[in-house]
């Protein structure tokens, strides 16, 4: 009873749409954030880096979910949009000596503008045709602009980014906490990820979010009931791209060396995989998908190299085989998800939660 109270009466719309409908959720959210705050103390460098990567992926996946999950606009340009944010943030940091609290939002804002531009075709086309238009954006940005605009991007030779101080002051970075260490970056990425998740949930609950979902479900009907479809589609591109830009800014600080190939089509596909595996249209699904896809290759490598290899006969060097196996396993897991649970990890979580609620009984 302490965990699943009954008799919660919602007497107005505000309480019905509240972010935290029960005190249990508030308490568990606070506990979870405390857990995340103390976690770096117990993690190896490797796990710390993976956690940073995971938080950054959460921001990008939640952003893509706004566009594809909420609004139904498919995009395979997320990798390139992340690249726009990364290069903007890197340029602001390295060439303009801007502090981090300007560089990262600047990356988000510029990417939002780029997103609006490349979202213009969505006014006239949808489905596979829109996919092709965003594919063109991906190729134009990642394979042409990032490579050719050397004065800004450094071309294929790459762009080196020094991790700045936070909260940095231009010209005097020593006054802030240096982000050099991954543990410092962990806290920044965590805070941004938490903000991104709550922002995305709020967007979904707002008038804007409802308009997005209406457009996703039937755009003609949405227009008939007075929703400005053009405006909301572009707004969706802008919001999604803003998240992608912030994600890119964080990635630039994490990697310290950015170059066009790291924002390729495979990155866009990986982000699509995150929201598909997680459960398209759900913020929780996007978060779970980002966690899953980030940890998947590491988990496969860990299990293969530390558990499976000891169980196999020694006449063959299995390590050689396992070294290249993660790419295949990655694809296999995604295919299994699509076959066995198209609604993704979010549905698995809901089923698990419902089962746990009534445990040890099998059903109500």
């Amino acid at each position: 009873m302490a965990f699943y109270p009954s008799g919660i009466f919602k007497v107005d719309y505000a309480s019905d749409e509240g972010l935290f409908p029960t005190p249990v959720i508030i308490r568990s959210s606070i506990l979870f954030i405390i857990f995340l705050l103390i976690l770096p103390w117990f993690l190896s460098n490797h796990m710390l880096y993976i956690m940073v990567t995971m938080f950054i992926a959460v921001v990008g996946a939640v952003g893509l979910n706004i566009l594809t999950g909420f609004t139904g606009q498919i995009s395979v340009a997320q990798g390139a949009f992340i690249g726009v944010g990364a290069y903007t943030c890197a340029y602001f940091t390295q060439n303009l000596a801007m502090p981090i609290w300007i560089s990262i939002p600047a990356g988000g804002i510029l990417t939002a503008l780029v997103g609006i531009f490349f979202g213009l075709p969505s006014i006239r086309i949808k489905g596979l045709y829109l996919l092709m238009a965003t594919l063109a954006a991906q190729f134009f940005l990642a394979d042409y602009l990032f490579v050719r605009w050397k004065s800004v991007t450094g071309g294929v030779g790459g762009f080196h980014v020094n991790r700045p101080a936070f909260p940095g002051i231009p010209g005097n970075p020593n006054l802030g906490i240096k982000l050099y260490d991954d543990s410092h970056l962990y806290y920044l990425a965590m805070v941004v990820a938490v903000i991104a998740v709550f922002a995305a949930i709020n967007i979904g609950r707002s008038k804007t979010g409802r308009a997005f979902k209406a457009i996703r479900d039937r755009d003609i009907a949405s227009a008939l009931i007075g929703i400005d479809v053009v405006r909301y589609k572009l707004m969706s591109f802008a919001l999604s791209s803003f998240f992608a830009g912030v994600c890119g800014g964080l990635l630039a600080y994490s990697w310290k060396e950015i170059s066009p190939p790291v924002f390729g089509l495979d990155v866009s596909i990986a982000y699509l995989a995150m929201i598909i595996c997680g459960g398209i249209g759900s913020v929780r699904g996007a978060v779970l998908g980002a966690i899953f896809i980030t940890f998947l290759p590491e988990g496969i490598m860990f299990i293969m190299n530390n558990i499976v290899i000891d169980l196999l006969p020694s006449w063959y060097n299995w390590g050689y085989l396992f070294s290249g196996l993660h790419a295949m396993m990655y694809g296999l897991v995604i295919v299994l998800f699509l076959i066995l649970e198209p609604e993704g990890l979010n549905k698995i979580w809901i089923n698990f939660r419902n089962s746990a609620k009534i445990w040890p009984f099998p059903y109500y």
């Binding site: 490797h46 796990m47 170059s259 860990f302």
Partner: protein, 398 residues
Amino acid sequence: MKRTVFFKKMAGAVALLAVVLCIGFPTCNAQADQETVKIAVTCSLTGPHAAVAGFCYGEMDYYTYLNEFKGGILGHPIDSTLYDGAETPKELATYRAFSSKVHSMSLYSTMANKALTKEINEIDKISSITGGMDERIIAPYVFMVGPSYQTQFYVSFKRMVENGGKTLVIGHGNYEWMVDMPEDAIAKKLPEKAGIKLLGVVEHQSTSSEITAEVARIKRLNPDYIWVWGDAVSTVAAAIRLGIPGKKLFLNHWYTLPVLTKKFGKKIDGMMGWLMLPSVDMVLKDPELRVSKELNAFLAKHKPYTRNWTYIRGWLIGTLRTLAIERALQKNGNKIPADIKKFRTQIRDELENIKGFDLGIGHGFETVDYSDHMGWGGMMPAVVKDGKWEIGKYQSFN
């Protein structure tokens, strides 16, 4: 009902995985075996550059050879791990997975070396014999093997001039090193220094196997030589289609592989290139060579991943690294110091101290002086005759 059981099992598996990942990684670090020499190798085992991954397997096989036939290094078994993924994000994660544990490593990509410069050289202090060949990534803890790309550009242009060439066009793919290295060579004015006129640079899509249009642009410029920098198979195929004679083509060292001669035969007669190292079979021809003896013993029990020169490259990387580790161990009374950074630095110092070391592969290769972190400084010229690579005598560029 079945679905519910599946969901429960899946959820259980995910929870177990999360626990293993969160607890397992730090636990494994804590349980590191102090008496085992630990080496990590990252490599491009999958994807477009997997064709030249032979050197990673060659290096790993050398450690297997030492473990099986020599009892490791001075009795210390070698625990070597090969990681796939030579693209920046993956390699950065991989590096962090092994950086707290290993005594030495091979980090593959140029970008990862750049991104991790501070970690490798100042924080973790791990000696790395890199797979990359751009001399700009040489650093206190970063070593290379073989002539750098910059040297290869210069000596190739010189060889073109020696063969009567006056003009040149560079044809390259659009991968990182394929674009970056020609740009660096042009910035350093290497064609001018070699005495050849650069008529132009033509780029093509590396992901495309059909690049006739790009090669046609090269043909229109009518150069004496075409420097094929990347994607040799598609470039040569297009050149044959357009009637460009093989003698106008000059390949970088990665492509002196049998695949081209097998595919195109006599159509590419006259095409030039470099063989960086002898192949396994070339080394085995002289059973008295040190590497020949090692390989004969190893190959009696194992099958190599490849028999081309890349395998020998890896074997030599392993030789140089373990030589430095052996010397570092000797200085510590055959004990691995508890202070891992001290041992890593000793290995680095011993790598740098390698002087006059015979590579043991014959064919005129000079001894290695590793004080400049560059390895050996020569290659063997190669030219296609009667549809087969004909290998010339070793040339030193030092």
